[in-house]
């Protein structure tokens, strides 16, 4: 039997209950909602505050900031930043001659401005300004760092060192491997068996060998196999090794992005008559690359950190310079000097990697906007 019909009046929207609002509401709901939640909160607060107090005591209160040898840092309870301030020129400029330090300064300034141009918005000119910097920066840097044009004296690449070398290897490794990886991913995605298997084989090969082996092979063994190989500068060979090795990882990142694209996107593109390259260039890749950003940034960060491996073939990158300086008799001493040196390297790497990571979060948030609104 049917029940009688029930009709209800419209209910207007109301404010949420007061205990869920404001700062106290937030603290109660998020930090102390249950007794075990409260215990976890208090324990973690206690642990984090202890660590912060220790770092503050060690790194700032008890630290020595100025000095010229290991004797300046007798206090084991504090960091020895004197080691860094004493050697900062080596860390920043490597072994480049003093009269060309202005060129290195200009390189850093340009790098900073280029990075800024991607963070600041210039309204409708944003993409144009960014393109100018993105293309201009490597070109100008090439001449600034190598010289040989407009009366700039030549600097041999093996004189680069410290942060300059780290940045050059990282940038070439990242921006060389991305386009190569994209081509490999497209090849692996191809329906033509020859292209597919050549690309897949290339990717699997480079992913299967350790980076150290690749670098040593390129630097030490290549000249033996190919006589002309010796003519290519050793730094350039290292850069190529980095780019080729990492392109295999980049290719897999982009392949993931390509696989995330729905078959319907391909069909819709074909049905309005786009050619293969138009479909890839305007519809598929823009979405695939956007979907690849988190994994892409992850790979970029690991490439950046892997640059430290070049110290094994005798290059003095940021880590290499610090390590060499630590072995210098004037700074041989108690282990806290070592700790200070490595902490400094860690802080520099962390700043760069964290910056890149924040930037990628911004990109992700922006692309979510246009996808879901």
């Amino acid at each position: 039997m049917m029940t009688d019909s029930i009709i209800r009046d419209h209910i207007p929207d109301r404010e949420p209950p007061i205990k869920n609002r404001g700062l106290f509401g937030w603290i109660r709901v998020n930090l102390f909602s249950t007794w075990y939640h409260s215990i976890i909160t208090l324990l973690l607060f206690w642990a984090v505050s202890n660590i912060l107090v220790f770092l503050f005591d060690w790194g700032i209160l008890n630290a020595v900031w100025v000095g010229d040898s290991a004797k300046s840092c007798p206090n084991m309870e504090g960091a020895c930043w004197a080691f860094i301030t004493d050697r900062w020129k080596l860390i920043v400029y490597g072994l480049t001659p003093a009269e060309s330090h202005w060129r290195i300064n200009l390189f850093y300034a340009l790098a900073g401005i280029t990075a800024l141009s991607f963070v600041i918005s210039f309204g409708k000119y944003s993409s144009k300004i960014r393109t100018v910097f993105f293309i201009g920066f490597p070109v100008v840097s090439y001449f600034l760092l190598l010289g040989g044009i407009l009366g700039l004296s030549n600097i041999e690449p093996d004189k680069w060192g410290g942060l300059v070398l780290t940045l050059v290897v990282a940038c070439c490794g990242i921006f060389g491997s991305i386009p190569l990886g994209l081509i490999l991913a497209l090849g692996r995605y191809s329906k033509l068996p020859v292209i597919h298997y050549v690309c897949a084989g290339f990717i699997e090969f480079w992913r299967g060998v350790p980076l150290i082996v690749v670098i040593v092979t390129f630097v030490a063994l290549l000249p033996i196999f190919i006589p002309d190989g010796a003519k290519i500068d050793v730094v350039v060979r290292t850069l190529i090794a980095f780019a080729v090795f990492n392109s295999a990882y980049m290719a897999e990142v982009f392949r993931g992005g390509l696989q995330s694209i729905n078959a319907g996107q391909f069909e819709a593109s074909k049905s309005i008559g786009l050619t293969y390259w138009q479909m890839m260039g305007y519809i598929v890749l823009p979405q695939a690359i956007r979907n690849s950003v988190p994994a892409l940034v992850n790979t970029c960060i690991s490439v950046f950190k892997e640059t430290t491996l070049i110290l094994l073939i005798g290059f003095s990158d940021l880590l290499g310079i610090v390590q060499i300086s630590l072995e210098d008799p004037t700074w041989l001493g108690p282990p806290h000097i070592f700790a200070s040196g490595y902490t400094f390297v860690a802080i520099v790497f962390f700043i760069f990697c964290y910056g890149v990571s924040r930037y990628s979060r911004r990109l992700e948030n922006r692309s979510n906007l246009s996808n879901e609104g």
Partner: protein, 254 residues
């Protein structure tokens, strides 16, 4: 409405002759013979897996047939890429899952094909795009992204995207199946308008009201075959084949 007997060969725009297709070993299209006249509206229905979608996807070669001939507007579909491109520019298609480009705004979804394929300058393409968006009554959403629209709105944009390529033939592949019930009508209304303007349409759908109102012919497919062809009223009121009777009794009892 045109009578089939009065059509002469010059009016035929799509022709299937003995078309067969397999997915692996699965025989999905069996000896399909089909003539579609210019301006004709055909509704194709049948149980899922019967090959209806595959049939219309052979017309713009999203699927390849393996035997027989498919001729569209006088061009035979072969592996020749130029033929495929020529036919795709004359055949518009609307999909069940809309397939708008999510990274482009609504208006850019309409501009990109005109700009890249029809080589129109962007400004002109934008004007045309706005006109078609007005036609499907969604021009006020032109700068939004597809993800910000409802399903019905997205599907109307998808129809406008196909129309602004100025196709001679429109294919609709279950375009209302993924929509919430209250949005089906807004999409069907656009399609009815289009039919009244004389567009050649092949529509895969189970919307009987739509079929009765606009279709010249209903084709019922099952297991890769066209089992029955009939006038819509005849087909829905007194189907002749047993399989069509069974099918109709099932969709009516849903």
């Amino acid at each position: 409405m045109k009578d089939k007997e009065n059509l002469d060969d010059g009016d035929t725009i799509i022709e299937f002759q003995g078309v067969n297709k397999w997915f692996g070993n699965f025989h999905v299209l069996k000896d399909i013979d089909l003539n579609v006249a210019k301006g004709e509206r055909i509704v194709i229905c049948g149980p899922s897996g019967s090959g209806k979608s595959t049939l219309i996807r052979c017309i713009n070669r999203l699927e390849e047939h393996q035997e027989g001939r498919v001729t569209v507007d006088g061009i035979e579909l072969t592996d020749d890429v130029k033929n495929i491109d020529a036919i795709r520019s004359e055949v518009g298609m609307v999909f069940q899952s809309f397939n708008l480009f999510p990274h482009l705004s609504v208006i850019d979804n309409l501009v990109i094909g005109q700009h890249l394929v029809r080589k129109l300058p962007k400004l002109e393409a934008q004007e045309i795009a706005i006109n078609y968006l007005k036609r499907v009554q969604i021009d006020d959403q032109a700068d939004k992204f597809p993800g910000q629209l409802s399903g019905g709105q997205q599907q109307r944009v998808a129809i406008a995207r196909s129309l602004c390529m100025k196709p001679k033939i429109m294919l609709f592949d279950e375009v209302t199946s993924a929509l919430d019930p209250e949005m089906v009508k807004e999409v069907l209304d656009v399609m009815i308008d289009l039919a009244k303007e004389g567009m050649t349409m092949l529509v895969v759908t189970h919307e009987m009201g739509f079929a009765r109102e606009v279709a010249d012919r209903v084709m019922f497919m099952d297991e890769g075959q066209i089992i029955e062809e009939n006038k819509p009223d005849n087909f829905f009121d007194k189907p002749e084949s047993d399989r069509a009777k069974l099918f109709l009794s099932q969709i009516l009892h849903q």
